[in-house]
Amino acid sequence: MHATPTVPSVPAEQSGSLHAKERVINDFSIQVATVNGSGSQTANNVLMRTIFQMGVPVSGKNLFPSNIAGLPTWFTIRASKEGYIGRKKEIDFFVAMNAETAQEDTLKLAPGSALVYDEPLKLNELRSDLHFYPVPFDKLVGPVCPEAKLRKLVKNMIYDGVVAQLLGLDLEEMRKALFKQFGTKKKKAAELNWGAVAAGKEYAEKNLTKTDPFRIEPMDRTGGKLIIEGNTAAALGCLFAGVTVLTWYPITPSSTLAEALISYLGRFRREAESGKGTYAVVQAEDELAAVGMAIGAGWAGARSMTCTSGPGVSLMSEFIGLAYYAEIPTVIIDVQRVGPSTGLPTRTMQGDIMSNALLSHGDSKHPVLFPSSPEECFTMAQECFDLAERFQTPVFMNMDLDLGMNNWMSDALPYPEQPIARGKVLTAEDLNRLGGFARYKDVDGDGVTYRTLPGTKHLQAAYFTRGTGHNEKAVYSEREDDWIQNMDRLTRKFETLRHSISPPLMREQPGAKIGLVSCGTSRWAMEESSDQLSREYGTETNWLRLRAYPFSDELAAFIERHERVYVIDQNRDAQLLGLMRLDLDPARVAKLRSVRYYGGMPLDARTVTDEIVMQEGL
């Protein structure tokens, strides 16, 4: 698979004709090109929310630079009546606000696309097969924004008004969306911006003639749903998991997770009478310290966590081996970005699947959860904390920038059904009853041993935690039999865990010979691609969505039922497939094929479909 963008394929109804008779309703994508730091995020969110409030399923993808202000940024909104919320590769409706990229952006558009642009850019001179809508933004912004220094920010709201007119958006919903965006405290700013929306709408009404086929019409598919970023949902998952210690180091794209959590902890985890917190947060000096503190806190009995991205995970490697071998619970949320090295800090990748699962030297392996949606970020964050304490081991939640930092349409977050699981912790009363304990003795035969917390008031409570060789009683040992026995017990524990972690989800229909497998955000492209293969090529496929490592036995059974299985990876080296290879017998491995994308954009269905079509010779 090539990382470079290919020429977008053109939907039949658009090609060749600038006056398409067939309308395209609630099934297209809008992209807005701006400069970062220009306040365009607000205008984009208002646009997306308006469509959402009209009952049409949407998704929003922000393609932003690793920079604070002045570089190009693109925001893509997809409206999909079918409810597909993955990225759509083709751009149908384009708003060019950035002079620097306008020419290249225009040349990339498929024939028949619509183009709203800043009039002085004269983009209509570049080609003739688009629907052109020139708008004199600078002339329009003056009258609605007397204060010159605010004009740069307010200008962007004008395109919301223009687009609203051209797509037939409900202005009342747009007004609601705008005021929600500004919040109750910034009414004056909201009114100023609303003036800009109205000016754009009025200009478009009087001066532009609609020629493109794209329309938004009200539906009823978003009732009760949320628009939320994965990082926010994950932070809420941690909040409701009962996190007590967060130690972290800032890194894109995970910082907003920590910041959201800190804000929620401040709102909801200070006790009414004393005003004191039921949590502690420390911004550490680096990722080593961040995970070291989380491990120390987990050892002391806290529900502890850190969040980071690939470079941080690399730094945490030694500590994670300690936590694995000394059997200390903690949660690491990895919001992946493009690597190796500093890579593309603001682009998305499933680059750390292998490193999460196998981090650290020697024999070490870790449970990894793969959320694909905000709901799963929320529920799986809770699962991570419970697994960490039940199995006394570091647990990874493997997210990515697309999931963490983009806007997703989501079901309402469900209140946890189960009580918090604290695992096998012996209290002083337990020790009185038992007369003592051996820290690493497999009493129950499941590989999971009992621990005590420091501060337990009992003569037999103490034990010595170490990353060096130890026997059942946690005493230093270099004996071969002690070492092997302990490593085998850790394997037994991992096998117990295999049957306690989120199982995969599948869609199967009889007769389909081809299987698709993915994890995390690849889900959206995979599910849509499966539909594309059926609709466009008459090829039926079944899919299985892995939600955790270690893999459930259902994966092997799924492969068994199919002739060929395509494993979808958002990385060059087929990391998910590689991990499966380690777990599966050779006969099953032989059935696996690889679909890979690693260009840093959220994976889209067309890319997956094209690759499978090529490999299948369809």
Partner: protein
């Protein structure tokens, strides 16, 4: 020991014998300074009547880091990774701020691989006792120089150190430790008083203890040897420690002694030697340290005390109980809270 009948067993203020504060048998070399420090720790915790179950013993990697296994066997211990004990100890205290935490580290741990963590622990004034068993060499890897080795110090192989040492006491004073002391593993009386003072202190105590490595750094040309310390130790004062729980009245001779009262009411009595030294002045502390280095002396004693600074756990303003064991109803917000949050995203 004579064959006389056993004297009645001595117990401390919580009724425990010193035996309750002992640990496993040391595996370090006979004569290692670290073993003396272990003995002083056992005595200090016993004499102060600290409940062993309330103590967490933390360490990194190295000879020094093995020692928490040799004292307080009724306390939880954690031998973590090289140089990273500060983070693990900080985390443990976040999880349970009622723990009494003692970290034992070495000069490799603290001044090289873990220097960053050491510095940030200082900044945070993490309430724990941080001991540096400083012998100027890496013992477990057979005698390479560490970052506290003095200029001109010579290895057994003849290699001479040319880089300036990192002074952990200077760093401690400059960056926020609230009790800073230097001592010598062979100075039983002084070390004992300093350790007890650090147990009484509320805040971060940094104790840099010159602790000769008898195998790799106790020869002619070494600046961390028993012989070198005998010639170069320069005590700031004679120290007496009077615990807050004792009935002993402290009487001082005007102009001859100073009293520094600690958090729990204990008193440190500093008997004047050559000069009257006030350990509460930061500038003065830095000055005497620099001055002693210039004179090739090893200044020992309580160098700096700051009793007013809030600790990390105080600044975090957490509930009184350990976070580790809070009940579910205190850490999981209600159904109504989640509904309110959902509504904010609709």
């Amino acid at each position: 020991m004579s064959a006389a009948p056993a004297p009645p067993k001595k117990t401390n203020r919580i009724g425990l014998e010193v035996l309750n504060y002992r640990g496993g048998k040391t595996t370090l070399c006979a004569g290692c300074g670290h073993n003396s420090i272990t003995e002083r720790l056992i005595e200090a915790f016993w004499e102060m009547g600290v409940e062993p179950q309330q103590v967490a013993k933390m360490s990194g990697i190295g000879c020094s880091s093995k020692t928490p296994a040799y004292f307080l066997s009724q306390s939880h211990g954690f031998n973590a990774v090289h140089g990273r004990a500060p983070a693990v100890a900080t985390g443990a205290l976040l999880g349970n701020h009622q723990l009494r935490c003692v970290v034992v580290s070495g000069d490799g741990d603290t001044a090289s691989i873990g220097l960053g963590q050491f510095m940030h622990m200082l900044r945070r004034n993490v309430p724990l006792i941080y001991i540096i068993e400083n012998n100027g060499v890496y013992g477990l890897t057979k005698g390479q120089f560490s970052a506290t080795a003095d200029v001109g110090a010579k290895l057994k192989t003849g290699t001479v150190n040319e880089l300036p040492p990192i002074d952990c006491c200077l760093a401690g004073i400059e960056l926020g430790a609230t009790l800073v002391a230097r001592s010598f593993s062979g100075d039983k009386r002084q070390l004992s008083a300093i350790l007890k003072a650090s147990i009484a202190h509320n805040g971060l105590s940094v104790i840099d203890i010159v602790s000769p490595c008898v195998t790799f750094n106790d020869h002619e040309g070494s600046t961390k040897s028993y012989a070198y310390m005998k010639d170069h130790e320069e005590p700031l004062h004679d120290l007496d420690f009077v615990p807050g729980f004792s009935d002993i009245e402290v009487e001082i001779e005007e102009g001859e002694s100073r009293v520094v009262e600690l958090h729990d009411g204990s008193k440190l009595v500093l008997h004047k030697l050559e000069h009257d030294y006030d350990p509460t002045s930061k500038i003065h502390a830095l000055e005497v340290l620099h001055e002693s280095t210039r004179r090739n002396e090893v200044l020992t004693g309580i160098i700096y005390v700051d009793r007013g600074k809030p600790t990390l756990t105080e600044m975090l303003d957490v509930v009184d109980e350990p976070l580790a064991t809070l009940a579910e109803r205190r850490v999981r917000p209600s159904r109504e809270v989640l509904e309110q949050i959902n509504e904010e995203f609709r």
